[in-house]
Structures are given as structure tokens and as C-alpha cells.
């Protein structure tokens, strides 16, 4: 593949063929608990896209210029988490200060995703797959969009489910996990469309 289009390919792959939620099953807790309504899912999705894209880029810089030169790559788990947590905190403060509307729509979801494993997952994958800076950013951005598409689809399905008769034992998380499985199966259909290493 032409190296110049590679970041774009990674972007689309992260959305469809390598969807972080549906192929790696990461970020499940907030996915299960917030997917009840489309509106809140949209807010959380937007927050995840933003945080994932920026933290992937940030963590790439930290990894490339601090951890590799010092031969401390095994510390990446701790360092990445600290960077994500601090970043999310500061962004929340800024949003709260700057725009009330933005805070109401997006800000309140930020503390929720500090501990979202998909965000850490994206940073770790970018390291494992040895992406460069641009690819890392595109990968984080795409993964965020992929995660948001998945939670939006689930919210849509769950709103329909409100009128469905569900066996009592499966109500709530049970039926959601089964549907997530089906969605993951459906996404297998994208396999082979884009190949990334």
C-alpha cells in the first residue's frame, strides 16, 4: 500500500474492520450503562472521539520521546493512564469555564471516560502496531468514531427494545450483551475490506 494513504486506511479500518468495541470488546462498561438513550450516547460518543484522538497523539509523543529513549517502555501502562487522567481533568475544567452549553452536552461525560478501557486500549494498540504520529492520531480518531457508531446503534436498538417482550432473566445487561455479540458478527462482514497490520 502507498505509505501516504496509510493513515487514512488506518482511520477507516479503526471504524469498521477493527472496531475497538466490536472486535476487541473494549469500553464495555460505559457502553452498557449509557446506551439507554440516543441523546446521551451521542454526548458520550463525542467525548470519546475527542479524548481518544488527542490522548493517542499525546501518548505517542510521551512514548516516543520519553519512554523509548529511557528504555522504559514497560512503564507505558502506568504512564498512559496518568496522561489520560490528567488530560481529561484539564479538558473538563476548560470546558466548564468556557462554554456552559458544551459542558452540559459533553463535559459531564468526561470523568466517566477517564477509566474507559477503550481509551487506554487505543494508546496501547498504537504502540503494539508501531504506528507513526499521524497514524496514531488517525487510529485514535477512527477508534473513537467506531466506538460512537457502536454505542449509537445500540442506543437505537435499545429504544426499540423498550417495547419488546424480553425474558426476565435477560433484561438489561443480558440482552445488551447478546445484541452486542450479534452486532460484532455483523461487523465481521467488513473483514477484508481494508487490511492493516
Amino acid at each position: 500500500m502507498n505509505p501516504s494513504v496509510y493513515p487514512v486506511a488506518i482511520f477507516f479500518a479503526a471504524i469498521f474492520t477493527n472496531n475497538i468495541l466490536l472486535t476487541n470488546y473494549l469500553g464495555m462498561c460505559s457502553f452498557l450503562s449509557v446506551s439507554r438513550e440516543i441523546k446521551t450516547s451521542l454526548g458520550l460518543g463525542a467525548a470519546v472521539i475527542f479524548v481518544m484522538a488527542v490522548t493517542s497523539a499525546l501518548n505517542w509523543i510521551v512514548y516516543e520521546y520519553i519512554l523509548i529513549p529511557l528504555d522504559l517502555t514497560y512503564l507505558r501502562y502506568i504512564v498512559f493512564i496518568i496522561v489520560i487522567a490528567a488530560f481529561v481533568q484539564i479538558v473538563e475544567m476548560i470546558i466548564e469555564r468556557v462554554s456552559e452549553t458544551l459542558y452540559a452536552a459533553l463535559g459531564i461525560f468526561l470523568p466517566l471516560i477517564t477509566v474507559n478501557c477503550a481509551i487506554l486500549g487505543a494508546s496501547l494498540f498504537m504502540v503494539i502496531r508501531q504506528y507513526n504520529f499521524l497514524s496514531s492520531f488517525m487510529y485514535g480518531f477512527g477508534s473513537g468514531i467506531g466506538w460512537s457508531i457502536a454505542i449509537l446503534a445500540m442506543a437505537g436498538i435499545r429504544q426499540k427494545l423498550k417495547n419488546a417482550k424480553i425474558p426476565r432473566g435477560l433484561e438489561g445487561a443480558g440482552i445488551t450483551l447478546i445484541i452486542t455479540g450479534m452486532m460484532a458478527l455483523a461487523f465481521i462482514g467488513f473483514t477484508g475490506m481494508i487490511k492493516i497490520s
Binding site: K39, T40, G43, V62, I66, L67, L70, D71, L72, L75, I78, V79, I82, V83, A86, Q89, I90, M93, I94, E96, R97, E100, T101, Y103, A104, A105, I108
Partner: protein
Amino acid sequence: MFPVTTLLISVGAITAVSTFLAILMVIADATIANYGEVKIKINDDKELTVDGGRPLLSTLMGEGIFIPSACGGRGSCGLCKVKVTSGAGQYLPTELPWISEEERAENIRLSCQVKVKNDLEIWIPEELFYVKEFKAKVARIRDLTHDIKEITLKLVEPPEIQYKAGQFIQLQIPEYELTEEPVYRAYSMSSCPCKRDTVELEIRYVPNGISTTYIHKYLKEGDDVIFNGPYGEFYLRNTERDIVFIAGGSGMAPIKSILLDMAEKGINRKAMYFFGARSKRDLFLVEEMHEIEKKLPNFRFIPALSAPLPEDNWEGETGLITDVVDKYLESGDNVEAYLCGSPGMIDACVKVLTANGVPEELIYYDKFG
């Protein structure tokens, strides 16, 4: 590379990264999240100057004002509602599940979600100024009748309580056989508000009642208890009208408190206190009531038994409490009434009082279901 150097480098690197981020956070906290001093105006009367940037609930708590809240500010109980008329901004998605359309129209907010960022104007019930959580020790338990106990609580922390006679507290019942988690039950205080360091409760045993079973069968002298309060609108109004008190059973408690308060302050308004019981074994504190009669010449205590036993040798009033009230009450025009007892008794008494001309809005009561 020696392992020691590796160790030092890794510790140093983590420390450096964390320190850098921590400094960044501290700077952000002091600049971006620093809203300076803001003013909170309460009930168009009191004004507090506080540091901005924290939720309203905890800011108020820091100022000693306790808004009832069960979840402690996580936005999951919906209890900490406060009316905010200016400065709170728009509703957050975390508040909306708890706020009804009518409450939105009135600017009712969840105080744990509203951040104090600029000057606020809020409205909270007056009594909440004095609501606190108290730690206390059971100083004494005594039997008033075969099924009513008087519990005396000595306050530990804070050491004093301020309340209006007739108000109630919420007593915490810890988890035990009948309950899996601590529950709160409301009980009127029967002691004089002038005794700042103690609180007395009169609690009647209800078979299988979670709280009363605990108090009657488990609670011992010397035990620690927790309660919060005071709450309630049941207190003596400052008027010149004649007073009619009516109570049954443990409904004695708030009225005894009001009477002790009147005796203490020398409020010598014309007052009658009708107390209903089945037989003599359900009567209690008669001596104390006659003591108050001596201090307040215009006060009369009228106990009535609905079913006196032959061995009671009862010479006082007999019959239903409503009939006795009807008999004594000449005209209700200049009367205000305070009732405490079972819902059935209250409903019946309200009927008799209004039939005698007592204005319905001047009949105050605490219903104990």
C-alpha cells in the same frame, strides 16, 4: 545496565511525569477552575461569601447548612433539591431525570450537580439552617406505659441542638435482623428545647415494626445512636388565640415539648389539652401535666378514657376523644388547634373542630401512619 540504574531511571521517570502533570493540574486548578470568591444569597436575607468551583451541596455543607441528601452528592438519589433563582445556568443532563416539569418551571435544581461559579440566589426552607447530623448516647430508657418507652438521648457531637418545640428528628436504625441497611424513622422530640444537650423521644411499640422493634427490644442504655434534624412545621404559632391540643398515645411527645416550652417561657395563653387513651394503663405523664397546670394557670389537661376498666376507678372524662372535645369546646372562632396521633383520630378531630367553627387552616397536625 545495572539493575539499580534501571530502577532509579524508572522511578525517576514516573516521578517526573507525574510531578509535571501534577504541577499542570495545580496550575489549572488555580487558574482555569478558580472562580474566586462568590456570594450566595439565601432566601433574600442571608448572604454567604464562599470559594467558588465546588458543587452547591458541598459548598453549603461547608457553611454548616445541610440539604438532605442520601447519596452524598453523586446525583443518584435526587433528594438535594434547592430552588436557585439566579446564577446556576442551564440544567445538566445529570439533573433532568430527577426534576419534573413543574419543578423546572420553579427553578428547582439538584444542588449536588450545580457548580458554584458565580453569584447565586437560592431559596431553602428556613428550618434547614438548623438541620445537622447528631451523634448521641442513650442516657436512659424508661417505660411510660406497657407499650410506650421514653428514650433520653444525650448529645455527643455536636453537643447542642436548637429546635422549635414540636419538631421531629430522623433517628437512624442500624442494620439488624429486620433490616439489611440503616433506615431512618421520624420521631417527635418530647423534651423542652431549653434543654439544649438532651433529646427525649416517646416511642410506642408496633408489632414487627422495623424501627420500634429495634428500639424496644435491642436498644440499651449507653448505646450510640445517630439522628438528624430538626424538621417539621408542627410548632406553636405566635398568636393570641386560644389553643386546643389533642393527642393520643405517643402523640403526647410534641405536645409535651410545646407545653414545657410554654411553661419555660411563661406563655400563659388559654389552652386545653385533650389526651385520649383506652384505659388507665395507657395513660402516662399525668403528674407532669398537672405540674404544668400549676405553672400555667390558663392551661387545663383533660385526659379521657374510651374504655376504662372497672379496677381503674376512673372519675375523669370517658368516651371518644372527639365527644369530649365537642363537650368542652364552646366556640371555635378564637381557637387554633394542634393535633398529634393516628390518621383516623386526626381526621375525626378535624371534623369536630371545624364543625365547632375552628378555621381549617389553623388546625396543625402531625399524622403518624
